[in-house]
């Protein structure tokens, strides 16, 4: 049973990582993240970077949908805005890539603020449709503007930092993962502030929130802006990672992917965004690995590929049915078991 968690000050009570056990695990996690690139193959490094980018974007959507209760199907469009901004700046201006990433975030944020305007009038499915419209408008702009390379898109040179060209998954890992960790830290802290709590109040009952003096439009727009900023930075990382940005890089299905990620992971929880993004990215790959272990080689791949897709679909449905609060809740239950053990399970 977990003991020794007595808190004597408000600061200790409000600490982000409030127990020794938690701090120890964090240190271990950080050590693992530091060691991982030296142990993993190119394939696993690639997946780590991809997961990291998806975690950043899913966390952004979680701020908007999970914490503020505003459904959005435009996350991919905002990622696209960030990716194109980064690509254009990299190709035409040649500015430093960290600056480009920030610019990508802010341009997407501006897009998010515009798209967020209807959020004062409409909610739920209506808002989802409004954000889908944003996706189509963004796609149209990407595909028809000379500046964005039209349908052929843009090909970026690799980013470089202090003369080191970031052209491999190993090198990109040292940028993508820390940026994502910073964004996660930012999001986790956000919900300890007045702004974050206002978001939660809006999600729980917007009319009551307004009665309490929370300016709905301002906070809803802020939530859209922050969520889009996260998407924009994730899109920027995506652009540096793949180095090719086309209008077809950010389809509507990608927005659905992120929505599914936060639902499977657990809405309104930072850990949920992380676990959901990991699940959605890694499970298809793990299923592929499992199929690969079966004897039969390439012939079996042909038959089992569709089965794999079905299994993935069933897993998602299974989570929605048996654990609607997502993977984060599963994790919480596991933790609770160890906290209370051996007295109750």
């Amino acid at each position: 049973m977990r003991i020794g968690t007595l808190k004597e000050t408000y600061i200790a009570d409000a600490a982000l990582f409030d127990s020794r056990t938690q701090q120890t695990w964090l240190v271990l996690g950080a050590a693992l993240l530091l060691l991982f690139p030296f142990m993993a193959s190119d394939y696993w490094l690639y997946l780590a970077c991809l997961v990291s980018i998806n975690v950043a974007s899913a966390t952004g959507l979680n701020i908007l949908t999970g914490y503020t209760g505003l459904v959005s199907l435009g996350q991919a469009a905002f990622m696209g805005l960030g990716a194109y901004t980064v690509a254009i700046l990299e190709i035409r201006v040649g500015s430093p890539f960290l600056l480009n990433l920030l610019a990508g975030g802010f341009v997407a944020m501006a897009g998010g603020l515009v798209v967020g305007i209807p959020s004062l009038r409409v909610k739920g499915l209506y808002l989802a449709i409004a954000t889908i419209a944003a996706s189509f408008i963004a796609h149209f702009l990407f595909a028809n503007t000379a500046f964005t390379g039209r349908t052929a898109g843009l090909t970026l040179p690799p980013a470089s930092l202090f003369g080191v060209v970031l052209d491999t998954s190993f090198r990109l890992y040292w940028i993508i993962v820390p940026v994502t960790l910073l964004m996660l830290l930012g999001a986790a802290n956000l919900f300890r502030t007045r702004v974050g709590r206002a978001f939660i109040a809006i999600r729980d009952r917007d009319i009551s929130a307004e009665v309490l003096g929370i300016a709905l439009l301002r906070y809803k727009l802020l939530s859209f802006g922050l969520s889009s900023f996260y998407a924009g930075v994730a899109g920027g990382l995506w652009a540096y990672f793949f180095r090719v940005v086309t209008p077809e890089s950010f389809p509507l299905s990608m927005s659905i992917f992120f929505l599914a990620a936060i639902i499977v992971g657990g809405m309104g929880s930072i850990l949920g965004g992380i676990l959901g993004a990991i699940f959605m990215t890694m499970v298809p790959e793990l299923l592929k690995l499992a199929v690969g272990l079966l004897p039969g080689g390439s012939e079996l791949t042909v038959f089992l590929s569709p089965v794999r897709t079905v299994v993935f679909g069933l897993l998602i449905i299974g989570f929605l049915v048996f654990e609607p609060h997502g993977l984060a809740e599963v994790w919480r239950r596991i933790r609770r078991f160890f906290h209370l053990w051996p007295f109750r399970n």
């Binding site: 193959s41 690639y46 793949f242 090719v244 086309t246 077809e248 298809p284 791949t301 590929s305 569709p306």
Partner: protein, 391 residues
């Protein structure tokens, strides 16, 4: 007794250590194989082609290995399903290349070819081809380690336009294409070529890919009264709808398509409307017995049932990979992307065993050869409507 037990344990440890050394050595021996990796879309929207491509590559690899391999070295084919998604496709590439010493690679889309190009250039070990015929990829300077298994989309239009110019000089040709990178690819350059060939392009119509309601577009098309209408950037829909409505409105246009529309099974799905539908095909159809084609005979022996044009594409890709590897080994050169490509470009008047009806020469990144075929719905077959046209 104690000492003996420890010594036995030590011996076991030594044996285990020895075995762990031998296993990688055995793998190193296996690494002598020439490895073809593949990001193949066996699920998703492009699965109809991916399954055929996969079978085509696998069959040719088996034929080569059954014949003793390439100078005693076996070919090994390592495919992964991608679902036709770029990130999954890149993951497959990373996985296959980190687990095998890959020499040759088959990619599934233009976006993948473009995305992986910097990696190909960086490592310099791999020669790649794929399912894409994008004009952009037909650039040996920008894409030095890649090639196309046929003409690019602009060249496909070139073949059709040359056929039209010969059949009906001064004809009016309409372009109907999808609002996608695939659809827009050859349009502007082909309009210029049409004018150069003395043809006119009275109308260009862009629709959503796979759109259903095209009545407004058909009216626009009818008003332009083209002698020929070329569809591009679609697999099937909305082509049958265009043809049916066009015919109902009394249009006399001849209807044409490009490679991905032209598989026999796809055209036959058009039903009655598709009778006489024409298009460009770089390969000979499975059932085309009009000329001697020993390689097609081999395919027919392997599979008594119809094999798609995607299958032929995969088969030919593997054949060209093999030829490039053979020539590189013959020259005693290192197996790397640059040498493979140089070997491939040394191919002059190469006999594909009848898969392509004329000997081929690979100039830059493409094989600019094709033939116009026409649908005979009664026979449920595509029949040749022109001779082989080489650009």
């Amino acid at each position: 007794m104690q000492t003996s037990s420890i010594s036995q344990r030590r011996r076991a440890l030594l044996l285990a250590a020895g075995a762990s050394l031998v296993v990688p050595l055995a793998h190193a021996q296996a690494g002598e194989d020439i490895v073809i990796g593949g990001s193949i879309p066996m699920t998703g929207v492009f699965a109809f082609a991916g399954v055929g491509i996969n079978a085509g590559i696998a069959d040719y690899v088996k034929i080569v290995n059954d014949g003793g391999g390439i100078k005693g070295r076996k070919l090994r084919y390592v495919p992964e399903d991608t679902g036709y998604k770029v990130d999954v496709s890149v993951a497959a590439f990373k996985k296959i290349t980190s687990q095998n010493k890959v020499n040759l690679y088959y990619g599934d889309s233009t976006a993948f070819s473009r995305t992986i190009n910097p990696e190909l250039e960086r490592t310099g070990n791999i020669l790649m081809t794929g399912a894409s015929f994008a004009t952009e990829l037909n650039d040996p300077v920008k894409y030095p380690n890649q090639f196309l298994v046929g003409p690019d989309y602009t060249e496909m239009f070139g073949i059709l336009l040359r056929h039209i110019a010969k059949e009906k000089p001064g004809a009016k040709v309409a372009f109907v294409y999808s609002d996608s990178e695939f659809g827009r690819d050859p349009i502007d350059t082909s309009e210029a070529l049409a004018k150069k060939l003395g043809l006119s392009v009275p109308v260009k119509i862009m629709t959503a890919p796979g759109s259903v309601d095209v009545s407004t577009e058909v009216i626009k098309l009818r008003r332009a009264a083209p002698d020929y209408t070329i569809f591009h950037g679609y697999i099937l829909a909305p082509i049958p709808e265009f043809i049916t409505q066009g015919k109902q409105m009394g249009m006399t246009s001849k209807w044409m398509g490009t490679f991905w529309t032209m598989d026999s099974s796809t055209v036959m799905k058009m039903g009655e409307a598709g009778d006489g539908f024409m298009g460009v095909m770089p390969y000979r159809y499975y059932y085309d017995t009009s000329a001697k084609a020993p390689m097609l005979d081999k395919i027919r022996q392997l599979h008594p049932d119809y094999q798609s044009t995607a299958y032929i594409q995969g088969f030919l890709a593997a054949m060209l990979f093999t030829e490039a590897a053979k020539r590189t080994l013959d020259a005693g050169k290192e197996l790397n992307g640059k040498n493979f490509k140089a070997a491939l470009n040394s191919i002059k008047d190469f006999d594909t065993g009848g898969l392509i009806g004329v000997p081929i020469t690979i100039k830059g990144n493409s094989i600019p050869v094709g033939r116009v075929y026409k649908a005979d719905m009664k026979a449920q077959k595509m029949v040749a409507a022109s001779d082989w046209i080489a650009l």
